[in-house]
Every structure is written in structure tokens, then in C-alpha cells.
């Protein structure tokens, strides 16, 4: 419910999760569907790693099991598709503070 409430405060926000392949738990998709958020929470795969290469997110020293796995990254785009927030990090153990994203969203028209 917390997720639905958070998105209700940002009625025109779309969240896109990008993965190397469809590594999405089926239960997660069902959860999103049950909340009626399928159009606003999108799951996508990056075939041939085109996106992570164009964004410079490919790990340079990745082991074979991590082929196509990007550096953890988050971008906030405004309505014109301009990047208004970037977070790209080496260490995936450190999560981005969601409050920072909310603060950026609050400043966007």
C-alpha cells in the first residue's frame, strides 16, 4: 500500500526498471498488477546491452556470470526527457536514499 500511496502523490510519474534480462519475480509482477500500477511501473530488459552501453554503465571488469549486468544506476527525467538527477555507483550494497529522488521530483514542474 505504501507504494501505491507514494505513486498517488506523483500522479504523472512512471518508474521503469531495466534489467539485463527478465529477472523479475512473477510475484512482483502480480503485486504490481493487483495494485493497478502496471502502466506506471514498467519492467524492461536491455537486449544486447544497448542501453547500458549507451549510458556507459557496463561493468568493465565483470565476471562472466555478470555479463550485461550494469552498475546500479537511477535517473530522473523531466517531461522533455532531460536528465535531472543521476546516481551511478560501483557498490550495489549501498542503496540510493529514496528521499533524495522525492526531493528532486518535487522540484520538477
Amino acid at each position: 500500500m505504501e507504494l501505491r500511496q507514494a505513486l498517488a502523490k506523483e500522479p504523472d510519474l512512471v518508474v521503469v526498471y531495466v534489467m539485463a534480462s527478465n529477472q523479475v519475480n512473477a510475484k512482483t509482477v502480480r503485486f504490481v498488477d493487483e495494485l493497478g500500477l502496471r502502466d506506471r511501473i514498467r519492467f524492461a530488459r536491455d537486449e544486447d546491452s544497448a542501453a547500458i552501453d549507451s549510458l556507459g554503465l557496463r561493468k568493465q571488469d565483470a565476471e562472466s556470470i555478470e555479463a550485461g549486468v550494469p552498475h546500479p544506476a537511477s535517473y530522473v527525467l523531466d517531461r522533455e526527457g532531460v536528465v535531472r538527477f543521476v546516481d551511478v555507483r560501483e557498490d550495489f550494497h549501498i542503496w540510493l536514499d529514496p528521499d533524495e529522488v522525492l526531493q528532486v521530483l518535487a522540484t520538477l514542474p
Binding site: N25, E34, L57, G81, V82, L105
Partner: protein, 221 residues
């Protein structure tokens, strides 16, 4: 009175553990039911349900043993000690998980549960029946030392939020990957993604809306 308190403590904790174990079993079967039965009670990864089944078995077994201890407290000294140790280890695990900010370890439970575990451990240290023939001195010293250690952990647990130690798992935005582009104020390149339905999804498809675009290893809530 201590014997009676020990019996009540064992009975309550044993019953609770059995109930928790049964909930975990239900979660395991819920996850595996044909077609699924909806949103999981607990957040579980692809392999998490095996852990849930294992944890459920352990809870029921330990809970059953504690209920047995409630019926025969004089034969349950070792179980009382083992329970106190297990509770302290569980609390320590939670405290360390908080310090390193490992959310996979923390799961969905509150860090404050560590304090409950430690208080229960103190109760077990003092209430478990002693050896009938043993002298009072060494046992009291041992129990006092154990209590001091537990209280030290309890103090650490309470002090963590105010000291700024811990929760290193959440950090401020950073850009420590030199190859990354675009930068702030630049347009997002228009690459093609494929959504779950096999349709192409491009950043340009989302113009007119604000977008949070996040690259993940996997999505598993």
C-alpha cells in the same frame, strides 16, 4: 516463583515459535500452490521459500522442545541455556545487519526486535533451573557476567540510531563510475528496451511524463 516463571516463559515462547513455524510453512505452500495464491505474506526471493521452509521446521522443533521444557523444567537447563544463546545470537545478527546496512539480512522486520531477544535471553539466564547440588557462587557469577554482556548489547542496540553508526546501506546520490553518461541537464539517449509483453519501450515514448529510470540486477520484492 522463578520455576513457575520459567514454565510460563517456556510455554509462551514455545507456543509462539510453533505458530511462527506454521505461518512459515503456510507461506512455503502458498508460494508453491498451482497458480499462486496472491501476494506473499513475506518478501521472498526466488530461493527464499526454501529458507522459509527450513526456518519453519527449526521454529516448530524448537518451539516443541520449549513446550516440553515447560512440562519438565528441571530437565531443561541445557535447553534454557541454548535458548538464551540463540536469542543473543539472533539479536547480534540483527545488530550487525543494521550496522552494515544489509537489507537482505534485515528483511522486513524491525531492528528493535533485537532488544526483545536480549530481554528474553536475560530472563532465560536467570530463570532456568540450576543444578540442585551446585553451590550458589559460581552460578551467580556466571549468570551475572552473561547478563552484563547482554545488557552491553542492549545498550549498543538502543544507542545505534543516535550515534549515526549503521544503516550504511542507504547512501546519498553519487557518481563514481567515470564512463557514465549523460550528465545532469543532458537529454537521455533514446535506446530501445523490451517490456514484459515483448513491446519496445523507448525513453522517447515517455515524453510528457516524469520518469524514474533505474537499472537493477534483478527485481524481487
Amino acid at each position: 516463583m522463578p520455576r513457575r516463571a520459567y514454565v510460563i516463559l517456556c510455554a509462551i515462547l514455545g507456543t509462539l515459535l510453533c505458530l511462527i513455524g506454521l505461518v512459515l510453512f503456510a507461506q512455503f505452500f502458498r508460494f508453491h500452490a498451482p497458480g499462486g495464491l496472491g501476494v506473499p505474506v513475506l518478501a521472498m526471493g526466488p530461493n527464499g521459500h526454501y529458507f522459509v521452509a527450513f526456518a519453519g521446521s527449526a521454529c516448530v522443533a524448537w518451539g516443541g522442545a520449549l513446550i516440553g521444557a515447560a512440562r519438565h523444567p528441571e530437565h531443561s537447563r541445557t535447553l534454557g541455556t541454548a535458548t538464551a544463546v540463540a536469542l543473543v545470537m539472533s539479536a547480534l545478527y540483527r545488530i550487525v545487519a543494521w550496522i552494515v546496512g544489509d537489507y537482505a539480512l534485515l528483511g522486513n522486520l524491525l531492528r528493535g526486535e533485537a532488544a526483545c531477544f536480549l530481554l528474553l535471553a536475560v530472563a532465560f539466564v536467570w530463570l532456568r533451573p540450576g543444578r540442585p547440588a551446585a553451590g550458589g557462587g559460581p552460578r551467580v557469577i556466571g549468570r551475572s557476567l552473561a547478563t552484563l554482556g547482554i545488557v552491553a548489547l542492549l545498550a549498543l542496540d538502543f544507542a545505534l540510531p543516535s550515534t549515526g553508526i549503521g544503516r550504511r546501506g542507504i547512501g546519498a546520490a553519487r557518481n563514481d563510475v567515470s564512463t557514465a553518461a549523460p550528465k545532469l541537464g543532458e537529454p537521455m539517449p533514446d535506446f530501445a528496451l523490451v517490456d514484459l509483453d515483448g513491446r519496445t519501450l523507448r525513453p522517447s515514448d515517455l515524453l510528457g511524463q516524469r520518469v524514474l529510470l533505474t537499472f537493477e540486477r534483478s527485481v524481487d520484492w
